[in-house]
């Protein structure tokens, strides 16, 4: 019998690395359209991913991002990308800046900007260099205190223009909120186009620049980034059973690291990136094991008749959070990563799964089923206070932004699988819709150095 062609791999080339030709597929060419004038010139017209902001944070910084002065048409509109990033965080309110470009070396009338409602003003320029690269400069002003608060210049090739815009947005975000920005990060997710077409894709955090890492006729679930961002682990059903793979993004090379009898699933990298927790059924029911990133040396961590699954390491490496129904219903537990007794963490309701801990270890996000609705909860671990942070009701797969301020998750609206964002205080909300297929299983990548 002819086996159907197994999954096909593609090297993933983030713009910051030396490039070989990365060809986006027709299906996976998605760019961000915010409904603002994001005029993208000279790009082939790809399908568009839409971000719709449906809720804003309790505190919003009013900022004006002026159009950056350009000497001639640049392939990317830096100020539009910066505006979209800041808006998507839910923590900034865009003040209309008009069309007039304002360069970083121009005099600015800060009291005028303040009168227009902008407490902060960003200005800048983009210039072509002789070698084909661009010189990008920006300055950030505090129009309340009448001072400059930031300024920097970058030199970047055309392929890194979007990344540079994200870096500028990160700097603005950090200056004003005190938290690290996540606009330059990447997300991985799975798209299902049909019953026989699945893709594992990686895109910028704003949905732009998607690239396909894996194409398969069978499902792909549970993608997760290594802490250094060079590897993805995931579960593939290409051999008609669940098998865990580790996939090197730079080369597309991958290894089946857990392919035992029975089901192999739920990979999670340890904080030092050297081990993977996985769920294996080779010795009976679903249990959590530790294996090397190359699949070596399996060590069993749980031993009971109940389901133990969805392991997730805390960022400090001290704990493994996981889902277990050893108490009669699926709940979140944690156990010391070095071994030891598990303690139960969730007590409300009879169905709490998919634990994710914030990078600072203070918050636990999970999916809770209550009255047939599936929503994401955030628990303040120290205070033991829980908050429902989503307004959608078919939620799955929460993943923290690496600054711990936002959650990305999958949900279903109007019968379609989409991604959505929620701030951990439950106020800022956005929905991310792709043009084709159902998007699911998101995982937020690490901070970019």
């Amino acid at each position: 019998m002819n086996r159907p062609k197994a999954a096909s791999c593609h090297p993933y080339n983030p713009p910051a690395m030396p490039k070989t030709c990365a060809r986006p597929t027709r299906f996976s060419s998605l760019i961000l359209l915010l409904g603002l004038a994001a005029a993208l010139m000279s790009r082939p017209a790809p399908a568009q991913m839409t971000v719709e902001i449906t809720g804003v944070g309790s505190q919003q910084y009013p900022i004006a991002v002026a159009a950056f002065k350009t000497d001639s048409a640049a392939p990317e509109d830096i100020s539009a990308i910066v505006r979209a990033d800041l808006a998507r965080s839910g923590q900034f309110r865009m003040v209309e800046a008009g069309d007039t470009p304002v360069a970083e070396d121009e005099r600015v009338d800060l009291p005028q900007w303040r009168a227009r409602g902008a407490d902060t003003l960003a200005v800048g320029s983009v210039s072509h260099l002789a070698d084909g690269r661009f010189d990008i400069r920006y300055r950030l002003y505090d129009s309340v205190r009448n001072t400059q608060i930031d300024g920097i210049s970058y030199v970047a090739p055309p392929a890194e223009l979007r990344l540079t815009a994200h870096r500028i947005a990160d700097r603005i975000y950090e200056k004003l909120t005190g938290d690290k920005g996540v606009f330059a990060t990447r997300i991985a997710y799975v798209v299902q186009f049909s019953r026989t077409a699945y893709e594992l894709q990686i895109a910028d955090a704003d949905g732009a620049n998607p690239q396909t890492a894996l194409r398969s006729r069978e499902p792909i679930i549970s993608p997760i980034w290594s802490p250094d961002g060079t590897l993805l682990a995931y579960v593939s059903f290409e051999s008609h059973k669940p098998v865990v793979y580790v996939h090197a993004l730079a080369t597309g090379a991958r290894t089946a690291v857990a392919n035992y009898k029975g089901s192999n699933s739920a990979p999670a990298f340890s904080a030092d990136g050297k081990n993977l927790a996985v769920v294996l059924t080779k010795d009976g029911n679903s249990e959590i094991y530790l294996i090397g990133v190359d699949g070596s040396n399996p060590r069993r961590l749980t031993t009971n008749d109940a389901i133990d699954t969805e392991p997730y390491f805390s960022a400090d490496g001290a704990w493994i959070y996981f889902t277990s129904d050893r108490g009669g219903s699926p709940q979140i537990y944690r156990m010391p990563a070095a071994g030891g007794d598990a303690q139960r963490v969730t007590f409300t309701g009879d169905y709490n799964i998919s634990p994710r801990v914030s990078p600072d270890g203070r918050l636990l996000a999970y999916v809770s089923r209550r009255n047939d609705l599936f929503q994401i909860e955030v628990l303040d671990i120290a205070l033991n206070q829980e908050l429902t942070v989503t307004d959608t009701v078919r939620d799955e797969s929460p993943t923290f932004a690496p600054n711990g301020r936002l959650l990305l998750y999958a949900t279903e609206v109007g019968g379609r699988g989409i991604l959505a964002l929620a701030s951990t205080d439950g106020r800022a909300r956005a929905r991310i819709t792709g043009p084709n297929g159902d998007i699911r299983e998101p995982c937020w990548g690490p901070l970019v150095k």
Binding site: P219, I221, S263, G284, I307, E310, F374
Partner: protein, 181 residues
Amino acid sequence: MRSMRILFTASATALLVSGCASTKLEEKPAPVVEQSKPPAPAPAPAPAPPPVAKVEAPPPPPVDPLNDPVGVLAKRSVYFDFDKSLIKVDYQPLIEAHGRYLVEHNARQVRIEGNCDERGGREYNLALGQRRADAVRERMELVGVAAARIETISFGKEKPKALGHDEAAWAEDRRADIVYR
């Protein structure tokens, strides 16, 4: 019509119960007596020719009960209640019949594939589907099948058979399938 069905079922059951033992009748050619030989010393009296075998159409080869479309083994799926992996009483005879078949046909391997309906998390549903497949395996082990001959895997909610979003579809998807290799 109904009596025909009963007759068929009865014969199928009879075949099943008898373990399908039957032998093919071999045709024996009628012996030929030779003519025109020179007179020989008084020949021993020619042996009486054996009786001519009655030529009948040979009976059909034994049916593997696994391939019998109306046999109990034709059913390969066990269905479950929401959130549950308990084998309902209705399905116990089916599983036991497959178990006994496996005991009698040592070379056969089987895989049991567990599934869930679309509601709930993917990894938890993978584990729940696994539990359903394991429950079927345990039932087979009760009638004597060695665990090593059965692989149990789960598709969770990833490979739904019924695509609707109502109880009828969900009930169809809460299922373990017995798959012979």
